[in-house]
Symmetry: C2
């Protein structure tokens, strides 16, 4: 078999167009009459683009060269958005530091990324002071503050030249890096190139704009992230919003009151976040008796329960699931539903977006394997990357099923699925069913060892405030009814219930099952002792 | 300056995702419950994808190898759409033959593209018979017909295997080729790679989905091309429609009655075409007194006059301009307007779509230069390509201006602009103004030589049927009024008017000013004789 003919412009003056982040800005200052709202200030797109040029001058003036790393430690702000563009546009690598990690872990991530400059909010001064001496690559610290105090970001930007000229370079250059916040092991460093971010912006942009009205994200929307900007580029939405020139609102540190206030004063219509954050917003809105329509919120990071989606609908929020991981840049699938569809259609992971190839292995119910042009090519270490990409497919470590319409349903994490009597039971399905009990606020289900069955499900339950506390007996009866009705397999009913005031969470708001297992292991008798299991 | 860090997966198993046309099909058979309607038949996306596999088996069975050319001569059909995918997906080059050219020119284009297989509609049997012996590379002819007669496309497809396995290859491989149908010189061969078509699909797809409702193209639309599929991949829309899994309707050979009938029976909501075709559809719809809303039609190829857009609106069509060329793959800009905007906002070339960089040289009113990731890298010959890409920007040969909102207005073709008294006057502006006269159906304005002024405008006018015939005196008075009102510069008023029953057009429906000039040169006295010009 011969090879396809490759376009060749050898000796010609043809321009070879690289997919660089700066290309997303083409014409936008002229096209958009919208604003970027942050920290009580408003910027036109023309001002925003000028500030990107100034920041590029400032960073290169600090000695930052292509390939160097610039770290940012901030809440969601226009300054963070400026760094999303200016840092990669000079060929440098933007490190979005997960500021919710423990100080020594933050130090580990900044050291591993070899950051030469850190832009940091004053809230993180104690962490900076504690670690700065232990960062051998660090050359400059720039304080992010609203005031134009000497030596701080705003003052330095004013002094910097607005005439920086950006050059083209290889589209495969690394644009961003950050650390995954898995619930197992130490954080792993992932990387994304310019090409990957541009392609993600286009494919996810096409998808959101094509979603049915009320679940869509289009040029006429007002955008506000509720996923921290350190977390996978706020799922890539700030890049899409900027490419389209939409009005953007950055809420700083997340307080439900601030979020609701900005939603109303700025007319926010599109956001995204983890279920925990959506829950906080609902809880803050409910007592006010307000209707938040129109507000589409894409929910990811963890599975969204149907009850949460219904509660969101009660306050006027259309919550639609999306699915992806830190390693996948992140968006792989997005749900959508029509007016007559049940809530469950919107809470599935959804349909693969353009250019995403999926495989379930083994077929039926198995691990979801994916390919797309924007997946991290690996972690810092070779061995972990080989596992991630075994066989040339990225291994999500999520167990999935596919519905007849092609939509993906995530059944469980590979490590959370409960292997009992030779069958795989989804911890998420049990948690979701328990969540429908009126006295249950939330539940986590984990597998505990069983001599007879291999594993058996155990539920950790948080009671709903203002309701009678549920008992183990109540919940067993409730689940037995569901099993009789065929909504859960018989052997999927938890054998034991443990009640807690809250569930431990990771830095990005997911239930931390690793911590949960540790805390249970300290109990006497431990549920991990097989002798305590008495299911027949 | 050091280099940016490039992602490297040396020795790793990471999948390198190439931007190939087959990737636009990922999951679509599962995701879409829509149909492809053509020639009285209806295909599900599952059937469509299966037929692509069969066509790939058929072509490779004919000995087609990567890099070989497969030519198609057909009206708009599902079979054409199948070739859009199957041919490039096996690594071969799809030649979309402009079947409106003269037979000897068609022969020239097919020979130059070195087609080994031609898929042809029976309407083109005479041309095939006349040229087949003179095509040294030709190995197979496949007749496209609705009947499953032995040896024809449908029968061969039934016999071919549905299990063809597509492989990945370099995204810069040539996917398509065709010849530009410029109004000067012989047709020039242009080329587009897989990467270019995928990026065009994403960027144009984002743009159309984000256009205001009523001017948009989204998953819920019903698509029907009114730009022939040989013409720059029907402006790339069939690729976008397929990527989104929308319902597609292929109208065969264009008859206004067929188009109106399909519009109504299939519920078409989005189309695109040249002004001439829109005019035909309006003329066919008007006597029927029907309202065609909702129907968004993107108009390109030539400038759309405001009067045409208004007439379209009168029959319920929202006509919105787009701009591009054969060389540009084609879409560069798309217009959009809000409810309160005047018609002129929708008839401008519009706003550059994502990833398109524009420059006007000289600034103000000058030639439009562009960069985008989907521009042809050249023509067959080196010298013409060097002109096209002089200085690393593609030269559109169009004179443009930019409005304050960033929208581009095409003022004229470089070769059509009238250089008079040291000023550049747009022939299109004069034509547009003449078109507003109630007795004028359409007008073409060309520059004729003047000893005193260099050039002077001459108008060729087609009278509006059913109206009193306009005289030269009427039109001079009409234009003088406009000049007094400041709607045209004084020296932009044509000196002479010539009346014709129709204007000559190119194979893609544009007014053929080259032919027009030729026919005028044959007049006695010739307007090209400077002695005939008497303007003071």
């Amino acid at each position: 078999m011969s090879d396809p003919v490759i376009l060749s412009t050898k000796g010609r003056d043809t321009y070879q167009y690289p997919l660089l982040i700066q290309k997303l800005l083409a014409n936008i200052a002229q096209h958009s009459s919208q604003e970027i709202v942050s920290a009580g200030r408003r910027f036109t797109y023309t001002e925003f683009v000028e500030r990107i040029h100034r920041l590029a001058s400032l960073l290169t003036g600090c000695g930052i060269q292509p390939g160097d790393t610039v770290a940012v430690m901030d809440w969601d702000s226009h300054r963070y958005l400026e760094s999303y563009f200016a840092v990669p546009m000079i060929g440098a690598v933007l490190q979005t530091v997960n500021i919710r990690l423990l100080p020594e872990v933050i130090e580990f991530t900044v050291r591993q990324a070899q950051a030469k400059v850190i832009l940091y909010h004053s809230d993180f001064t104690p962490i900076i002071d504690a670690m700065r001496k232990k960062l051998p690559d660090l050359k400059h610290l720039i304080l992010l503050s609203d005031a134009s105090d000497p030596g701080t970001y705003e003052e330095l930007l004013t002094q910097a030249s607005p005439d920086f000229i950006f050059s083209d370079f290889d589209e495969n250059a690394i644009a961003t890096t950050f650390h995954t916040t898995g619930t197992t092991g130490e954080p792993k460093q992932v990387f994304f190139s310019h090409r990957q971010i541009v392609l993600h912006s286009l494919a996810a942009g096409v998808t959101f704009a094509n979603n049915p009205s009320g679940q869509s994200f289009r040029r006429s929307d007002v955008y506000m992230p509720m996923t921290p900007m350190f977390h996978v580029h706020a799922w890539g939405l700030p890049y899409i919003a900027t490419m389209l020139g939409v009005k953007q609102v950055y809420p700083g540190r997340y307080h439900p009151e601030t979020i609701l206030s900005l939603k109303s004063t700025e007319g926010v219509t599109f956001s995204h976040g983890v279920p925990t954050l959506l829950r906080m917003v609902i809880d803050a809105a409910k007592p006010l008796g307000i209707n938040l329509t129109p507000w589409a919120v894409v929910v990811g990071g963890s599975a969204m329960s149907e009850s949460l989606a219904d509660e969101a609908a009660n306050v006027g929020i259309t919550a639609v699931a999306g699915y992806g991981m830190s390693e996948t840049g992140p968006i792989l699938t997005v749900a959508r539903s029509l007016a007559h569809d049940p809530t469950s259609v919107r809470t599935r992971a959804g349909l693969a977006i353009p250019l995403v190839e999926t495989r379930i292995e083994p077929p039926g119910r198995g691990e979801l394997l994916v390919r797309a042009p924007w997946l991290t090519e690996g972690y810092g270490t070779q061995a972990a990357s080989d596992d991630l990409w075994a066989g040339g497919w990225l291994h999500t470590q999520d167990i999935a099923e596919q519905d007849v319409d092609g939509a993906i349903r995530i059944v469980d994490r590979v490590k959370d699925v409960i292997k009992t009597g030779g069958e795989w039971v989804s911890s998420i399905e049990i948690e979701s069913l328990l969540g429908t009990h009126p006295c249950v606020a939330e539940a986590a289900v984990i597998g505990i060892p069983s001599e007879k069955w291999g594993e058996r499900p155990l539920a950790i339950v948080v009671a709903q405030k203002g309701r009678p506390a549920p008992s183990e007996k109540d919940l067993k009866a409730y689940m037995a009814d569901h099993a009789k009705a065929g909504r859960i397999v018989h052997y999927g009913q938890p054998d034991r219930y443990i009640f807690r005031d809250a569930l431990p969470r990771t830095s990005v708001g997911k239930v931390d099952k690793k911590l949960l297992r540790q805390s249970l292991a300290d109990l006497h008798p431990s549920p991990f002792d097989v002798r305590t299991v008495d299911f027949d």
